[in-house]
């Protein structure tokens, strides 16, 4: 899918930017109540029936941008009251990461099949015969589906020689690989938190922009303006996201200008994971286990745990590159606020549960924050970057197939290991490959599972199409001094130091 910035994306970004700008300038409480009005006036196009509804939707979006849930107890309160609450309270723990903005949801039609005017009222009536529920009758000059009888099997559509029967999907439902988006009695979308993997696919699919996640912008602005030391850890997928092709110099300078005391690449954490995970593989497969699953994508991990519980024991026990990197930093910075910056929505929950990463921003939220703080990376083209501590393998984790590639190199340290790597992108593909593994029909004994198509580069928080960013990633990768994790001396040393603390089962 090509990534294009459509109108709803612009609105979401505008709301983020303006909310962040108010707080950056210290005017949040004073001016937030007027923001819905201002945004409605600034935006010439009117999408909704009336200005009143438009403002109400802006208010809901602002709440999400402030990190608040859309719970009913927040419904009637003023934005300034809520803002005060958001600034002084830590956010509710076990809530959903992704939420539907009820009033923005159009309640798209949920009749899955319906017969169009292309129906010729033919003599065959194949549709009628194909329907085992007797749901199709001929009314006037056309076939008609009695929706109360229809079980959505789709046989009629296959039977019609004219292709006159249309299959309609709600975009959010179609985008959800685990059927966690369902319709309530009013046909509005709701998210089943018991099934949701936080992948964020539905957010980018809704043409009404009615699904969004909670942002941590406000608390991160507080940290940047406060006394504590702050560290930005950027995911390898950041290459090319801000418009400077493969160069990271401008980005690093901009992050420092924003107030981060230190900027680090998570690619180095990925090197640690590649080394640790290949060692783990050599120890586990095939002696103890028939196969192993990667553990760096939090949505894939959650998917396996919820939807394939029988296979969860085969997940690697390594922490993700994000957590590994945070653990290396924690040694000298016990009190610093560590912020992960990536393309991922699911990382927000993973970070919260990890207890070593304090906050998460998506690339979209970071760009909004730059704009809010009047920081323009286009003026920093000349900024030089320091030599990277990571290898090309580590950086490659950003793209689908990258973890497998790094494992192939990492496993070379274990001469007699029998490693056959497979990879899957998108949870549908992951599911198909997991089933093969379960039935012992797979040709591979290691599976890299990525919830997003394209890998992290295709994540819901990305700003640039992953076909473009993949090119930039490859260019920068070829320029790196160290190509394989196995040659990364610093990473090998760190792994020795941290050893067990990088495995999830360990208590440390």
């Amino acid at each position: 899918m090509t990534l294009q910035v459509n109108e709803v994306t612009k609105i979401r970004r505008k709301v983020m930017t303006e909310t962040a700008r108010l707080h950056w300038n210290g005017n949040l409480i004073k001016e937030i109540d007027q923001l819905p009005e201002r945004l409605t006036a600034e935006h010439e196009h009117r999408y909704r029936c009336c200005e009143f509804k438009e403002k109400a939707i802006y208010a809901e979006r602002i709440k999400l941008a402030m990190g608040l849930s859309l719970a009913p107890e927040h419904a009637k309160k003023r934005l300034s009251t809520l803002a005060r609450h958001s600034l002084t309270h830590s956010h509710e723990k076990n809530r959903s990461q992704v939420e539907v903005i009820d009033i923005a949801c159009d309640g798209c039609p949920i009749d899955k099949y319906f017969i169009t005017n292309a129906c010729r009222n033919c003599l065959g009536h194949n549709c009628q015969q194909a329907c085992r529920r007797g749901a199709i009758t001929i009314v006037g000059n056309q076939a008609y589906i009695d929706q109360s009888k229809c079980v959505e099997c789709g046989m009629c559509r296959k039977a019609c020689k004219y292709g006159a029967i249309l299959e309609v999907h709600r975009p959010c439902e179609a985008a959800c690989p685990v059927n966690a988006v369902i319709a309530d009695q009013n046909r509005k979308a709701i998210i089943d938190n018991g099934k949701c993997t936080d992948c964020g696919n539905c957010m980018v699919s809704c043409p009404f922009g009615a699904i969004s996640d909670h942002s941590q912008l406000l608390k991160i602005i507080d940290w940047l303006k406060g006394e504590e030391k702050t560290v930005a850890m950027v995911a390898p997928a950041i290459i090319g996201q801000m418009g400077q092709k493969e160069k990271l110099g401008p980005l690093f300078q901009a992050l420092k200008q924003l107030g981060f005391d230190r900027v680090e690449e998570v690619s180095f954490g990925a090197d640690l994971v590649a080394l640790g995970e290949s060692e783990e593989f050599a120890n586990r497969v095939p002696v103890k286990d028939p196969y192993m699953l990667s553990s760096c994508c939090p949505a894939f991990v959650k998917f396996v745990k919820i939807h394939r519980p029988g296979q969860a024991e085969y997940l690697s026990t390594m922490v993700s590159p994000m957590v590994a990197m945070a653990k290396t930093l924690r040694e000298d910075l016990p009190l610093a606020k560590i912020v992960f910056i990536g393309p991922c929505v699911a990382k927000k929950r993973e970070a919260m549960e990890s207890k070593v990463v304090d906050g998460v921003l998506t690339f979209e939220e970071l760009a909004a924050l730059f704009v809010a703080a009047d920081i323009n990376l286009a003026t920093m083209e000349e900024a030089q970057e320091e030599a990277s501590k990571a290898s090309k393998d580590g950086q490659g984790f950003a793209a689908a197939g990258g973890v497998r590639a790094a494992m192939v190199n990492g496993i070379k340290r274990f001469a007699d290991a029998d490693f056959r790597g497979g990879s899957a992108q998108g949870l549908e593909e992951c599911l198909a490959q997991l089933k093969l593994l379960e039935k012992s029909e797979a040709s591979f004994n290691f599976l890299e599972g990525m919830a997003c198509s394209g890998g992290c580069l295709g994540g819901p928080g990305a700003l640039v199409d992953n076909r473009q960013t993949k090119r930039f990633l490859d260019v920068r990768g070829s320029q790196l001094e160290c190509q394989n994790s196995g040659d990364n001396r610093l990473a090998i040393e760190k792994l020795k130091d941290l050893g067990h603390s990088l495995h999830k089962s360990s208590k440390k």
Binding site: T9, G243, A378
Partner: protein
């Protein structure tokens, strides 16, 4: 010779609002129009709130969509071509 100068704003604000999509259109048209299209880059055009923005033959266009930009450039190109014909015909 027909010359159109297009200057995309590469500032972070315009980038966030979809400047890259305009860049893709410009790249496509560059292939089609060749030397007739001169491509420049601006760091900021001082209308950040209205982005994504672009300069076309010295004129500022704000809040452009890829389709709008494509149409503007092609229309401009057609007009210039016609003018050229008129002058050379005389």
């Amino acid at each position: 010779m027909t010359k159109i100068t297009v200057g995309l704003c590469a500032g972070t604000s315009c980038h966030l609002m979809g400047g890259m999509d305009l860049g893709t259109v410009i790249e496509e048209l560059k292939v089609k129009l060749g030397d007739d299209l001169q491509v420049q880059k601006h760091t900021c055009l001082n209308q950040c709130r209205k982005g994504p923005n672009v300069m076309l033959n010295g004129m500022l266009f704000v809040g452009m969509t890829p389709e709008q930009l494509k149409n503007e450039i092609l229309a401009l190109h057609d007009r210039e071509e016609e003018n050229n014909h008129d002058t050379t015909g005389q």
